[in-house]
Symmetry: C2
Subunit: 254 residues, 2 copies
């Protein structure tokens, strides 16, 4: 293996009662996990928290100290439950104030009288915020320090992430190789798999049993920044499957 | 309103690299959120963490002190990345030891030689663990204190939750009422909505813009333990929609 470079780490904070109540199936976590992996900024933790000021402030301060990048989704609209922006200002201990670029843009956009107090809140940001536009709505997200504040609506969040991604200093991309075999049980391969994991300590080897109508089996996924090592580890797993009477098939079961 | 009874609170901890890597779309959070709401044990926070011992131990100890119930999913299989059980023992400071009931059951189930070291780990639990069977596989989850340790495979997790639910002391169920209107924008209703939320402080009023081919609009959802209050609040929201020229429709957009 070549020299090991530490990848920067990411934490996602999903802010909103709608995921915690079960009203909404989150659609942002998996998307961000995949995009961040490609950028070499692996996602290390997710927190889903309610629209409660002291929880948001405490959580932002905990995770911005623990991870290189923090990505929040949700809570930046105009209604009473949209309090992410002022909470991030409070977490950083900076004023939450009129953002002149956004303010002017929104004032010009709305008909007279429609740029009301609720919408003015969307033009109010922590001092020092760097805008994250989205090309579809006029209201941007923003970055402050290592915290990136994005919308919760998936289509808008993705557009914002597209804008943000080129600004992030990433690491080596996380690549993935996998193999699976029907009829093999996790409990039979565990010891062999532990030995392979020990030989490839820089990789993350995951074992995922599956249950399909056409038969149960196990898929093994190797992830890391070293594609050659991932391929070598998966070749050893395939040999382990064969030794146990299984027929290894490249990739994961479709 | 009648006397306010505090509902017990819940935190879900999803343990597994596969959600953080984007390999897997989590399918347990929303299910647990809905079931826990029905039991009157509202979900207040979710953490998704990797298969890393010190992270699991620290997280379990943080959240079991902060919430009435903690539900973990994932990491209780036989392979090297299944370390939830021993980490929960470490978090509680109790021995991780042979669980005689599960041990005997698994020993009887497997052919001679197949109850190997990997499978024996699934019969090893924190001292004092109370089993959570699932009726489909022989390997149970367990509760210790206020921490309930369940499988990550959704079908098994749901069977375990069915077994666990009757043992949980819940509160008044969380009920939900909603209304929506096309053509209404969040920024126009925000002030009126803030006033309604202030009059119904025991409810959680959520505002959710939607974007459909047939038109955009806003849905408002009132959640709480007092159904009459939720209905009254939603009636006020409907009147607000009407005052702004909208046509309120009961429920959420399909």
């Amino acid at each position: 293996m070549g020299p090991v470079t530490e990848n920067p780490t990411a934490c996602v904070v999903v802010i909103g009662n709608e995921v915690l109540s079960g009203r909404t199936q989150d659609a942002n976590i998996r998307y961000l996990a995949q995009r961040l992996g490609e950028l070499g900024i692996p996602l290390r933790e997710v927190r889903i928290i309610p629209d409660v000021a002291d929880v948001i402030i405490r959580t932002v301060n905990e995770v911005r100290a623990a991870f290189d990048h923090v990505f929040t989704t949700g809570g930046i609209g105009p209604t009473h439950d949209d309090i992410t922006s002022e909470c991030v200002a409070a977490a950083f201990g900076v004023p939450w104030e009129k953002q002149p670029v956004v303010w002017a843009r929104m004032e010009a956009h709305y008909a007279p009288g429609q740029f009301n107090a609720a919408r003015q809140r969307m033009a109010t940001m922590p001092r020092g915020a760097v805008l994250i536009d989205n090309g579809r709505t006029i209201a941007p997200g923003f970055s402050i320090g290592n915290v990136h504040v994005m919308a919760g609506v998936p289509a808008i969040m993705r557009l914002m992430f597209d804008m943000l991604a080129p600004r992030l200093a990433g690491g080596a991309p996380i690549v993935s190789r996998s193999v699976h075999a029907a009829g093999v049980r996790e409990g039979d391969i565990a010891a062999g798999l532990t030995a392979i994991q020990a030989r490839y300590a820089a990789l993350d080897l995951g074992s995922y049993p599956y249950f399909r109508d056409e038969g149960a089996g196990v898929a093994i996924v190797a992830k890391g920044t070293d594609a050659a090592a991932a391929e070598a580890a998966i070749a050893e797993v395939a040999a382990l499957f064969t030794a146990l009477g299984g027929t290894p098939v490249a990739g994961e079961p479709v």
